[in-house]
């Protein structure tokens, strides 16, 4: 790969695709999809290539590129990947490639839809590969903003209207509508970015106002008082995106209202971006702050796991079930990170990947079901397994991974995280974690039984529904394949991840 700016190719290929779509493919829907698949396919191929050629012995940041942008302020376009970001780049590439197929049926203004989606992905790739905190922040904003239009224009409003004593107030504020969800999501995430910006500026000034580079800040020794509050700022800022309780409420609303590909990308990748930010910036730069606040991060993660699972059990809207299960699973990610053990941190990163694929699969399936049956209400639908065996099978495999069945990616991730929790300074964290896995099996199996495997619904509206067709199969096949592959041979992911987590733990003073 010597000499090739391969990370820039991955990052900017979707952006070029977006520009091409806007300028060449007006009123030609097939060309729009062709460009989208080609540009994300290129990114996926490049991501697979760097995944294969990443030097697992050398570790550290590889495929490094640097271009000075604003020399007086020390802003550089500086990209590189280590084992952790490598896996995240691969995840993003898989999800967006599958997502381009999953949204094949978008009809209204599909040109703008695909263009915005590809711009969004550029932002996500950019955050994962940036080593300059300032550029990272810019990419973060690119990843957040198109979401407003994507949900606001192409989203769907929930069919279940709020009831009960809060029903009136909720109807007044438009809870459950796509406009409400779009605004809520955007404001929450921008609120988080305000904290991130303050944190980055504080580190920049404390480091002598000369560089935003992660590599240089890693060498600096920040005073403990500064570390303490900057860590909290990063934790709140990125944590909102990772869905930490009690700042998670944007996530169910947003994910339930978003169109299929956006839900896939947002729940599958963007929430990981939050967790990645906490681990990379918070833990990677602020070792004292991490030691000081690990108890808080872990405890809130436990709340996330149990609270998210309980909320998912109470939902009657299929998309909300999946959205709350994301909140629960992101708790596992944060819990693994907070354990500050090698197993826990590996489990955390692995869970980011596993949950990304799993949730991407779930949202793709929910989108398909909604498109065929025009319903998201769990208790109206029944017995779809006979009519759409492919979708039913994929849902069941995803569900089994979600509840942590061995031989799926979800098992490896949860096992490692819980093992880490038991080895950490707070072994009791294990119990809420395992309780969450138990509750997950309840709500997943309940949904699978009701919608797919139970007796058929008497409603004639739900008879004779088609299975997935054409490009939709591509999306499902890719995701199910990854889920099983990484469950059976987790070593292909854990190898590179270990090269990133061990140096991090050495820096934190946990390992020697």
């Amino acid at each position: 790969m010597g000499g090739w700016p391969v990370l820039s190719v991955i990052t900017w290929a979707p952006f070029v695709g977006a520009v091409l779509i806007m300028f060449t493919a007006r009123h030609r829907p097939l060309l729009v999809r062709g460009i989208a698949v080609a540009s994300t396919g290129l990114a996926l191929l490049a991501a697979l290539a760097i995944y294969a050629t990443y030097d697992r012995e050398a570790a550290g940041f590889q495929f490094y590129e640097e271009i000075p942008l604003v020399p007086p302020l020390g802003i550089k376009y500086q990209v590189g990947v280590d084992g952790m970001s490598l896996l995240m780049v691969l995840l993003t590439a898989i999800i967006i490639f599958a997502g381009s197929f999953a949204s094949w049926t978008v009809k209204e203004r599909s040109q703008e839809f695909y263009a915005l989606l590809l711009v969004l992905v550029t932002g996500v790739f950019g955050v994962f590969v940036s080593l300059d905190l300032f550029i990272l922040f810019l990419f973060y904003e690119i990843a957040v903003l198109p979401m407003y239009l994507l949900i606001g224009i192409w989203g769907s409003s929930g069919e279940i209207r709020p009831q009960g004593i809060f029903g009136w107030a909720m109807r007044r504020t438009g809870v459950g509508t796509k406009e409400y969800a779009a605004m809520k999501l955007t404001l929450y995430l921008l609120f988080g970015s305000a904290f991130i910006l303050v944190g980055i500026l504080a580190l920049y000034v404390a480091g002598g106002s000369s560089s935003f580079s992660f590599l240089e800040m890693e060498l600096a020794d920040f005073p403990p008082g500064l570390q303490s509050w900057v860590f909290l700022a990063f934790y709140v800022g990125f944590g909102i995106l990772a869905g930490i309780w009690p700042l998670h409420t944007w996530s169910p609303d947003g994910h339930a209202s978003a169109p299929t590909a956006v839900s896939m990308l947002h729940a599958g990748v963007l929430m990981k971006l939050g967790a990645y930010g906490v681990v990379r910036l918070g833990m990677g730069l602020l070792s004292d702050g991490t030691q000081q606040w690990a108890w808080l991060v872990g405890s809130i993660a436990c709340v996330n796991i149990v609270y998210g699972a309980l909320s998912a059990m109470a939902q009657t809207d299929l998309k909300y079930v999946i959205a709350y299960s994301s909140v629960s699973h992101m708790g596992v990610v944060m819990l693994g990170a907070a354990t500050l053990t090698e197993n826990g941190l590996n489990g955390s990163v692995f869970q980011m990947f596993a949950h990304g694929i799993m949730t991407g699969l779930f949202f793709a399936l929910v989108g398909l079901v909604y498109e065929k049956a025009h319903s998201r209400e769990i208790f109206k639908m029944a017995g779809f397994g006979r009519m759409m065996p492919g979708i039913a099978t994929a849902f069941t495999i995803g569900g089994l991974s979600s509840l942590g069945l061995p031989a799926t990616a979800g098992f490896v991730a949860e096992f490692l995280s819980f093992l880490g929790a038991w080895q950490s300074a707070y072994p009791m964290w294990l119990f809420p974690g395992v309780l969450g896995a138990f509750l997950t099996s309840i709500y997943v199996l309940r949904v699978a039984k009701q919608i797919f495997w139970g007796p058929p619904s008497p409603d004639p509206h739900f008879h004779d529904l088609p299975d997935a067709e054409g490009p939709e199969w591509a999306a499902l096949a890719i995701l199910v394949f990854c889920l099983v592959l990484f469950g059976v041979v987790p070593g292909i992911a854990l190898g590179p991840v270990d090269t990133a987590t061990v140096p991090l733990l050495i820096r934190l003073g946990v390992l020697r």
Binding site: L149, M183, T186
Partner: protein
């Protein structure tokens, strides 16, 4: 000399206006705009020069930067005004443009003034035509009310300002600002009182909370291109006075102003943003959001450093393009729809995609989103404040940016998400198109390549410390 050139231009306009026949005197506006472009070119090439009148009139880097800014704002404002359609503007065009230029003359002198008396005279020369212009539609009750409110508040603030100046003169024994800066080192309590009173008076001019109440009414009633200019140029002039009075030559004692400026910035940001939320009229919304922007600029003042001043100057330019552009789009929509309400923007993206995209860019710039000017502006003032250790102020500012984005996005939602009620595109007059285009170029250009302007702002701010 710019001021002399402007004087000549005013005389030319006056005689052309007097000798024109017929009801339509809009050609004087064209002459005015052309003359301003020439003057802007002269300002672009002017170099720092000697001080005149015993040092009370200086031509330093700050003065030149400020003059370029005033001229640029006036060029855009006048070009935007050329598209005004009401017959009053055609018949009384001479008065309209003369008043704008008179006010501009006040600003130009103000930028160079380093003497209390000259400062105050220039200030009044700037302000009085503004009162007149606010009430230009004299048969419109709302305009008269707005002009009266503006006038009363403005004169009271001038009185407060002069009252403050009297203390300064009384203690320092001189009207020269260098002498006052030197006297401030003595730490006399009445000196502090004078400075605080003057800041109150200036607070009215820049419309900082709690001195802001004239803003929404005046903006709503006055003609929109004038408001676009009013929302930028006089505010910038107010800030130049603040620099001269509070920072130039004051040295370490400037640290005195940190709590004052930071407090003023905090309340202004919070109040402006919160009051903008319920607005249904775009002009009122922009008025309140403008108040919030003044708060963000005060963050740069609170940093009391050369960086802070420079970043504030940068912010002013970003605000010039973003805010004037937004107001000019409002004018374009109002001419076509006859309404300033947010509801008039329904489905604009499908009716006039280019106009809607321009508005979106302006709103994103005002909201501080990357790749348009406003982002760098906010980032730079925050950076200046962070250097001073004011992290809490940065946090307040950054969090309130989210509130601002909420109401900007409400407008964006109308334009992009809602379906249009009719399909005919909005008709925009050529002059208005031109001035909106200038603003778009400014917003995007500064967003993509901010470096030259940052360097210019840093050069302008350097002699103050």
């Amino acid at each position: 000399m710019l001021e002399a050139g402007l004087g000549v231009l005013m005389i030319v306009i006056f005689f052309v206006g007097v000798w024109s026949r017929g009801e339509d005197r809009r050609r004087v506006g064209v002459i005015g705009a052309a003359g301003l472009v020439v003057l802007f070119g002269v300002a672009w090439r002017s170099e720092p020069g000697v001080a005149l009148f015993g040092g009370s009139f200086v031509q330093d880097e700050l003065a030149i930067f400020a003059k370029r800014l005033f001229l640029l704002a006036t060029v855009i404002g006048v070009a935007g005004s050329l598209g005004l359609r009401a017959p009053t503007f055609a018949r009384r065009a001479t008065e309209y443009y003369l008043a704008i230029l008179a006010s501009l003359l006040g600003m130009l002198v103000l930028a160079s003034a380093r003497d209390l008396v000259l400062l105050f005279v220039a200030f009044e020369l700037m302000s009085i035509p503004l009162y007149y212009l606010a009430g230009f539609l004299k048969r419109d009750e709302m305009a008269v009310e707005a002009a009266l409110k503006f006038f009363l508040v403005g004169t009271v603030s001038s009185a407060v300002l002069v009252y403050g100046f009297s203390f300064l003169y009384g203690i320092a024994g001189t009207t020269d600002l260098r002498g006052i800066a030197a006297a401030l080192q003595g730490g006399h309590p009445l000196m502090g009182l004078g400075m605080i009173l003057a800041l109150g008076g200036l607070g009215f001019k820049i419309a900082a909370f709690p001195f802001h109440m004239w803003v929404p009414d005046t903006y709503e009633a006055a003609s929109t291109p004038f408001v676009a200019w009013l929302s930028v140029a006089p505010k910038a002039a107010g800030f130049i006075v603040i620099f001269r009075l509070y920072l130039e030559g004051v040295g370490d004692r400037a640290i005195l102003w940190v709590p004052l400026a930071a407090g003023l910035a905090t309340v202004t940001i919070i109040a402006g943003n919160l009051m903008a939320i319920p607005q249904q009229n775009v002009k009122r919304l922009l008025a309140y959001s403008g108040i919030a922007h003044i708060g963000y600029m005060l963050v740069g003042f609170a940093a009391v450093s050369a960086d802070g001043v420079a970043m504030m100057l940068f912010y002013l330019v970003a605000y010039l393009f973003g805010n004037m552009g937004a107001f000019l789009v409002v004018e374009a929509v109002a001419q076509s729809e006859g309404s300033d309400s947010i509801a008039a923007y329904r489905g604009l993206a499908q009716r006039s995609p280019v106009l809607a995209l321009s508005m979106l860019l302006f709103l994103l710039s005002l909201g501080g989103i990357p790749f348009v000017a406003g982002f760098w502006a906010k980032l730079y003032v925050f950076w200046a404040a962070a250097e001073q250790g004011l992290y809490w102020l940065v946090l307040v500012g950054a969090v309130l940016t989210v509130v601002a984005l909420f109401y900007y996005l409400l407008v964006a939602k109308r334009m992009y998400i809602d379906a249009p009620e009719k399909s005919a595109p909005v008709v925009v007059t050529p002059f208005l198109t031109l001035s909106i285009f200038l603003c778009v170029v400014g917003v995007v250009g500064m967003g993509l390549y901010p470096k030259p302007l940052v360097m210019a702002a840093l050069r302008a701010a350097a002699p103050l410390f």
